[in-house]
């Protein structure tokens, strides 16, 4: 494995994380720069810098032919896709396989099977993994809806086949409500999507998004690296993650069950890399398979922090058919608690993206903080990429300590020149329900921490700036 040349087809903090692991393992990390980002900060950690021509993602990070050419030109042995972009693209991983280039990720078959929602659900079912119960096909009549309701138990959700984004769906607590709502939802479906057909599925109250980290090698060994709680979301995107899950808490039986279920899913597709199985869990702690992400995930660090397993390094070892750092499931244990805050260039109240140029960046952190980021003074966040610019991660002896540390770290994280969600995180970390670990995916929508964000003191900041500028006798 040593000396192999690996191309990182990604940018930002994940490109940095991958380059660190490659360097540490004695491989050659090759990073790319594009014409709309000629000095990307991730190159700081790459041993070699090559140009990926083009100035938008279609021509660069998503352009398979161009990437294949780079692979030829620079004698590349392997590719790490990071997350997003081509990380879960079957065509790409097959193209690499054909060339005999190592794809640092799962085999193309697994990418394909878990990529298609319907297929993955089917595989999960066959593997005996619970999926959200409901109608197998379209439901034409009220009677049928009621029949299914009685079968799977209330409450149920009436949902437009073509639905999405909250439109064309309505929960029903009993037969009467089904009778009352059925026609209305059909009309809504027709008007919103031009198609009236409905589905019926179990309605899960205050659901939790809980996922299990998987690490597998090419010899058929599949391990779980325990779970993550990712229920604090806005626009169906995570903004805070914790491990272990405070909702599962000390219920080791449920923890064991969900982790072993995840291993079942991975084995069903002969999984052979790092990946994540996502579940939805109800208040009754019953959980159902949602999907499997066949890539390294944004929130992988909290798992690394509580288990001590270097997921990225082991993912690389697996790809090159090297033994993992451990030989049995029992070697992996939870030790302490970790929390991750996603730092995004967005308005803390509207939570809408707010790109711009960073004017100032300073960190004053306590012990036990890890900050995976790609921020530096004068770095410009363009609208071309995801607004996430950093991940603030705290590890503590227990949840209370981790909370204390991440809160103090947040006070010591100063990013000037752009709007960020730091102020929103500050509110959440002080909010009673979150502190108690009592929150579901409805948290942002119902508790509405964004409404308690304090306006920043413009005038004082303004005075401090003037004082500094004048005392430095410079226009900065």
């Amino acid at each position: 494995m040593k000396g192999k040349r690996v191309l990182i087809i990604n940018r930002g903090e994940i490109a940095i994380r991958v380059a660190k692991a490659l360097n540490e393992l004695g491989l050659v990390s090759v990073g790319v720069w594009t014409d709309n980002e000629t000095e990307p900060p991730h190159l700081e950690f790459c041993q070699e810098w090559v140009r990926l021509e083009g100035s938008n993602n279609k021509d660069t990070y998503l352009n398979i032919p161009r990437i294949m050419k780079l692979i030829d030109d620079y004698k590349i042995d392997g590719v790490h896709p990071g997350y997003g972009f081509l990380s879960e693209n079957r065509e790409f991983s097959e193209a690499l396989a054909k060339k005999g280039i190592t794809f640092i990720g799962p085999n193309p078959e697994a990418v394909y099977k878990m990529g298609a929602k319907d297929i993955s659900k089917q595989i999960a079912k066959e593997a005996g993994v619970p999926v959200v119960p409901g109608s197998t096909g379209e439901v034409e009549t009220i009677e049928e809806a009621i029949r299914i309701g009685n079968e799977i138990g209330y409450p149920i959700l009436l949902k437009a086949v073509a639905g999405g984004g909250g439109k064309g769906m309505r929960p029903c607590a009993n037969e009467a409500e089904v009778k009352a709502n059925f026609a209305a939802v059909q009309r809504e479906a027709l008007s919103s999507f031009g198609y009236a057909a409905l589905l019926v599925e179990k309605y899960i109250l205050n659901p939790h998004h809980i996922e299990v980290q998987i690490l597998a090698d090419k010899k058929g060994n599949v391990y779980h690296i325990f779970e993550r709680e990712c229920s604090v979301q806005r626009r169906h995107q995570k903004i805070i993650e914790e491990a272990p899950s405070p909702f599962i808490g000390t219920d080791e039986a449920v923890r064991k069950e969900i982790c072993e279920t995840a291993v079942k899913c991975a084995k069903a597709v002969n999984y052979d890399s790092a990946g994540t199985v996502e579940f939805i869990m109800g208040e009754d702690k019953k959980f159902y398979f949602l999907e499997m992400n066949t890539r390294i995930q944004v929130e992988h660090p909290i798992t690394e922090e509580i288990t001590g397993v270097d997921l990225v390094a082991n993912m690389i070892k697996a790809a090159f058919n090297q033994p993992l750092d451990f030989k049995s499931q029992d070697e992996i244990q939870i030790h302490g608690h970790a929390i991750e805050l996603r730092i995004c260039a967005e308005d803390p109240i509207t939570m809408l993206p707010a790109p711009g140029k960073i004017a100032g960046f300073e960190t004053t952190f306590p012990q036990g903080i890890r900050f995976d980021h790609c921020i530096y003074p004068k770095f410009t966040i363009t609208p071309d990429f995801d607004p996430m610019i950093g991940k603030l991660i705290a590890k503590g002896f227990n949840r209370e300590v981790a909370l204390r540390k991440v809160q103090n770290a947040l006070d010591g994280l100063v990013i000037e020149g752009i709007k960020t969600n730091i102020a929103l995180h500050r509110v959440i970390l002080n909010e009673e329900n979150f502190r108690k670990g009592k929150y579901s995916t409805n948290y942002i929508g119902t508790v509405k921490p964004q409404e308690k964000v304090a306006p920043k003191e413009d005038l004082q900041a303004f005075m401090v700036k003037i004082a500094a500028i004048e005392q430095n006798g410079a226009k900065a």
Partner: protein, 160 residues
């Protein structure tokens, strides 16, 4: 010396200040206050009492800072035009983006809240609505054009 300041939300401040050794003395609504500056390990720190000190991330001001006609530094690419055209009839980009669609042409009438154009930013389409009833006076952009923040895209002649 008097300083003027316009923040991201186009809110304007002004304050009087004098340089004193090691600090700046401010006068705001009759009250005097000092802010002390000290360098440590190459970084700037500020203090209100010379005992408690806080790190200053940078000397850069991300908004517009003007001291008696001298513009200090503009980080967020505000066009000066953006400064005095904050009215209901001025459609100004609040973030960099790409213009996707214009629904109106010069001379068209618009009502308050009517969508005039669509701006794509951070992979999302934002409907830019008119802030007033009136007629389109000028259109300074064309579809597909990339725009920085603070750019005056459309001016609307407000109906009296």
């Amino acid at each position: 010396m008097r300083y003027y300041f316009v923040n991201q939300d186009m809110k304007e401040f002004s304050i009087d200040a004098e340089i004193i050794p090691g600090a700046m003395e401010f006068t705001h609504e009759g009250k005097k206050s000092q802010i002390w500056i000290r360098k440590l390990a190459g970084k700037n720190y500020y203090s209100f009492d010379q005992i408690s000190w806080k790190k200053l991330p940078s000397l850069g001001v991300n908004e517009v800072l003007v001291s008696h006609s001298e513009v200090y530094k503009v980080y967020r690419g505000f066009k000066p035009s953006g400064l005095n055209k904050g009215g209901a009839g001025a459609l100004i980009t609040q973030m960099p983006g790409k213009l996707v669609k214009i629904f109106k042409k010069i001379g068209d009438t618009v009502v308050k809240g009517e969508t005039v154009l669509i701006l794509e930013a951070m992979k999302m389409e934002n409907e830019i609505k008119s802030g007033a009833d009136g007629t389109i006076k000028s259109i300074n952009v064309k579809e597909g054009q990339a725009l920085e923040a603070g750019f005056l895209m459309v001016e609307i002649e407000e109906a009296k």
